[in-house]
Subunit: 419 residues, 4 copies
């Protein structure tokens, strides 16, 4: 039987950021296989071109080699090479019935974990082995819960099919879309996604969460021509003039009366030296809105501003979408069903159907939306745990007693729907 | 015989700005006719579409009516209606020979003339009758000299042809181009243009002047969509955002290693009220360079910046060229010829072949260039007069003794070339 | 007895924009006086320095002379000269009691009224006599209602005091603040303000209206130094560079998580000619928020951006506040009281306690706030009328049957509170 | 006797960028000492606070350790630790006389040297050992010439004093100023600086070079406050908005009628992630002018624009001067003297007193200016060599036969002035 705490601490010690979850995903494949699940992974689980914000090949390769050094099964991980780190576990029950899916995200963050003595992982010897990376958003717990659930459902004693989706790159809302585009949830009737913590205390559970914002993250490149700034400034095509013009005008996009918005140019970098007309600049832009339509309009305006800021200075440009999410409209009856089951699980004592989730954006939204678009239902639950420091903080941690409770809850939900 | 002083003072009392020289031009037609010149005017003297910076129809009509009220010959002025105020006087000599042209500009400035007792026109009763307009750049003198020259040459006692070009709208470098485009100087072998004053003292004459800059004056219109700034800001297309972006980026056009440059956005106006997204803005832009090629490149860059600043905010735009000039490359031998003749005229005692002229730009440049392009020659002379205040100043004035001397000089030049 | 329709049509034919309501206010003074009211007006009714967005002296004087030509009582209007056009009518009842105030705004708009045959005022011979000005926001009706109410209350048969406030310059939210600052409502216990129309159909009434935005309107001046753009550009201090920089950065002020916001630069004008470095520019800026605190922060950020955009180009600047309003928090029991009385008035059949008012901002907010700050109560009612075209449109009109009904409603409210 | 080719190739194999010339300078100290020169170095040769664009401590330390590994004399290099890499060799002659100085720059460039077989250093086994650094501007040759000259003058058989100045960090015009500020040239009567190549072919020499521009290189830091772009954008202080505003306005600084100018923002970098309001940005700015006064005015305007662009967005800022130079006004008689001596040296056949030097800026200008300010004289010579690729190119190289010829020339100049 799986030891959930040991498993979670192993993942915690080996945090891997988005699309580099080679060791984590390999472990997931091994365990699911050992439990008798059909396992889909690598290019079978993701549409390569739909991955957003993929790291550079060099970064991917370095992480791949680290995973091998740290004992990742070479035969399995080889199929994930290049950033194909999604894993899908499928288990058919003893008779026909609906398909129920659960989503678990696996990626860590580029955060340097605390070495303070009062930080639980440090005090208990399972601080990150990868300096500068950390599981500071509970995805180590999510992955563990997914495997615990697999173990519970390994008997196949239900009517219908279980799909356990282990997703890469939730941070930056980059990974889910490629799973959707591969068609993984096209046959799903019910989908349940969740997050630990997010402002909900231990013992409380939200059956549904709303307030997730539609968002698009874009990376823009401006390509000009360098020239000596003293000898021939007029021969340059100044990438920074284009980028700075875009930056100001993107921030000047008007407020919308049809839905609140957010806009940010988070990064601007360009140029090489004082005496060279800058030939290249890049810019990272983020749009958000409570409304998917308004966010789409914001994205369109950003694209137009960038295109003309570039052309104004005779620059070439490209824009990559490196992340995105849409709002979640959870099904109220699914939330109610989850709460009913939670009432049967020891440790839960506060039950909320739906509440505002302060996490901003979630690309589980794409999975839920696809299921709903094809006639299914879904919800996004917030499962409480007290936390000593905010999400993404170097002292973030969860209470490990929530792991078995969450497994039990999800197991009850699955069996309720598959009878 | 014409009384030059009376004539100049009459013009001075009735200053008419560019393309509204209805009364002035009508007088010129009458006098040239009375002297036996063939007179070309109205649409025969100018290409309508090549006029730059034409005032609005309302302004043209108002000025037209004022001229009528002030005694302009209705039959003549009617042919000038709508801003066709160029007049060409042609006199064929008794035998064949080359064609010699002289240019005289007629327009005044939107300057309020001084009422101070020490201002000569005020003290002598010939201050402007048109409040807010003033002959503050000596064009009243230039026109007078042209008519004096016509009188001298009325005998036709020369070999060849004389063309006296009375040009509208030299201020803003707007009028000459339309005369060129009509073909008026296509048969000219020698052309002489000049200015009184321009930093040269009484008694001195420059046979040629250089340093005139190539320049383009543009009027850009930005058309957007208005919207209530509180209720629906996202429905507006903000003309001022486009215009302000253009303004900053136009000023940011780089220096050129191939020739010194100047750029100015002289006017920006847009919007109507605090709570309305501005639907319209206009902008006046000026480029200059010592090099005609560099100025053309500047104009191209300004056009590109305006186009993309507009498109960035989904605006429509148009750009009108409302003025322009090119550098003058005067013919050194023509300058020398002028100086030789000046030495025969009493009152001149300082003779300079060519010197830098501080006036900036002159659209006589188009006339001279056309003559040179077709194998002819030309020059631009600066004829000295002391002035009590700078050109364009409300107390500007000239010394009237320079009028007959200038007539004599030009007469000598004409006869020298037509023998 | 007053003929309300005749009165309204007279006001409609003589529309006067903010702070120039000389003829209107004079009529109000005459009628109130004839009805036995104590009348406070001119500098006694307004704090001169607290008037916002006052027109220029020339504009005020021209309007003043027009009012005289149109029969305004010279002795009365003389006291309003220079834009002191508020009128306060006070009537003490037969015994002591609370003070109840009503607000009526009198100003018109700079809108050219339609001449179409289907426009009721045109068809019925009472179109505006002042071309370009129009009562397109029902203030002619409001003023009429105020005078009708005065007539009803002229008997003094109540316990307490009535204050009828005829306010100038509600458009642009400019006039109320000066009445507040004069202390006019410092002794008021109950205040009722209202608007006809605003999206409410005939027969419906809202006892209270919310959603009014806090707003500040600013006029900024940028003072630089002109210079010849060709000869000495470096000697200029370019006012348009400062203004355009301010414009872009004002629009780039971030969204607030603490309350929705609006920002607009509605007007930018600067410069005189293509070849002159612009020495002056002006800019009209508007901020809004549902939160008074957020609006104050927006105003502070706009001021800071303007100050540093100016200083960046070595410009001087000033900022005038030319309009402003705050949100309205109406007293729910006052709204209820109004509805109870409306139920007694024939013609009303739909009753709403409080609803969102789409008009944006109202400076009645200052009057209501002052009354509430001193322990009193107040509300802002929306009284329905069908309208053929939106407020501020050249074909706007009201249904005149609403005038006597509104008078009756206000009379009932007054008497209810003064017994 | 020194083998100049061996020496140059040793320097070429160990290229050290500005202020990290630890190994090079240590060798210079050793050789000068062995030749009997008094040697001033470390903090005795440079004013620490006047060094511009000093690398970070980490970079300095890493280079220091590399020098130790590559055999730098520990006792000597220890005194240079932290970037004190100037070396001054002084030799007094046998009798009193004037002081004559020569300047040799020692630093390399961050250029990756070519590995192509046709690149002479590669083909001959002396390509750079330090990947990414390269002597691509002939300073290896300059240093070698300086040591060769020291050997010639070691006999002390002259009247007066020799000062050989081995300067760090000429690239980026950063090092000379600290030598001047230490007072090193305060007693110098004649100073000769030179460059190999710079467009002059083998066999030609320019006794003086003009056209060097005054320049200032600035590094600006903008410090704001980060915040979550979705949750609380208003709590951020956006460093990139300040920096982009500065960038546009710096480029918009007007042309000067008093001297041609250049302006460039060569680098802009800020922000960390799409969803974080950027808390920090940095910017590298360069100004240039033919006039030292105009360049000072440009620098002042850049500082003002940066200060107010920062303050507009409530940012803190600092500006470091990381490089600078002034124009060179060489003494024509010194140029003539140099040419006269060159005529005595075999290999020179083309002699130009003064010509435009295309290299842009040189901080030898500070050394020459200080000497001239104290009554001395100086010049900057261009000594010809054919080059296979432009300066700063990865295939740049010099012809080694110019090394002994240059030594002989400088020796002749020294002895001519010291007799």
């Amino acid at each position: 039987m799986l030891d959930l705490v040991t498993l979670r601490r192993d993942f915690h010690m080996h945090p891997e950021v988005g699309f580099t979850e080679f060791r984590t995903a390999t472990k997931v494949v091994e365990i699911l296989t050992s439990l008798g699940f059909e396992v889909i992974y690598g290019q079978d689980a993701m549409d390569g071109d739909s991955r957003r914000g993929l790291p550079s090949e060099a970064v991917l390769e370095k992480a791949y080699e680290r995973a091998l050094r740290d004992g990742a099964n070479p035969a399995i991980v080889e199929k994930m090479r290049g950033g194909y780190t999604a894993v899908i576990g499928v288990k058919k029950g003893k008779s026909a019935g609906p398909t129920v899916a659960f989503r678990f995200d696996m990626d860590a963050l580029p955060v340097l974990e605390s070495k303070d003595g009062d930080h639980f992982p440090q005090a208990n010897g399972f601080r990150s082995h990868y300096e500068g990376n950390m599981h500071a958003c509970a995805h180590d717990g999510h992955t563990t819960i997914g495997l615990g659930l697999a173990e519970k459902l390994a008997d196949g004693d239900f009517s219908g099919t279980i799909k356990l989706i282990f997703q890469p790159a939730e941070e930056g809302v980059r990974g889910a879309y490629s799973i959707v585009q591969k068609g993984i949830v096209d046959d799903v009737d019910y989908i349940f996604c969740h997050h630990l913590g997010v402002g909900v205390p231990l013992g409380e559970i939200h059956g549904g969460s709303h307030g997730f914002l539609a968002t698009t993250k874009m990376l823009a490149h401006f390509h000009g021509v360098s020239s000596h700034a003293g000898a021939s400034p007029e021969q340059g095509k100044n990438a920074l003039l284009g980028a700075a013009t875009a930056l100001l005008n993107i921030h000047a996009i008007p407020r919308f009366s049809t839905g609140s918005t957010r806009i940010n140019v988070g990064v601007l970098e360009g140029g090489t030296a004082a005496n060279i007309i800058p030939a290249y600049a890049k810019m990272v832009v983020e749009t958000r809105s409570v409304s998917e339509e308004v966010n789409a309009e914001l994205e369109q305006r950003v694209r137009n501003i960038i295109a003309h800021s570039a052309a104004m200075h005779e620059l070439e440009h490209e824009i990559e979408v490196v992340g995105g999410a849409i709002p979640i409209n959870y099904d109220v009856d699914m939330a109610e069903l989850a709460l009913e089951e939670a009432k049967q699980v020891e440790g839960f004592h506060s039950f909320v159907n739906g509440a505002y989730n302060a996490m901003g954006s979630e690309d589980a939204s794409f999975l839920i939306k696809r299921v709903q678009d094809r006639g299914g239902k879904g919800t996004y639950m917030s499962i409480g745990t007290d936390i000593p420091a905010p999400h993404h903080h170097q002292k973030f941690d969860i209470q490990e007693e929530i792991l078995p409770r969450s497994v039990e809850l999800l197991n009850r939900i699955a069996r309720r729907l598959l009878t």
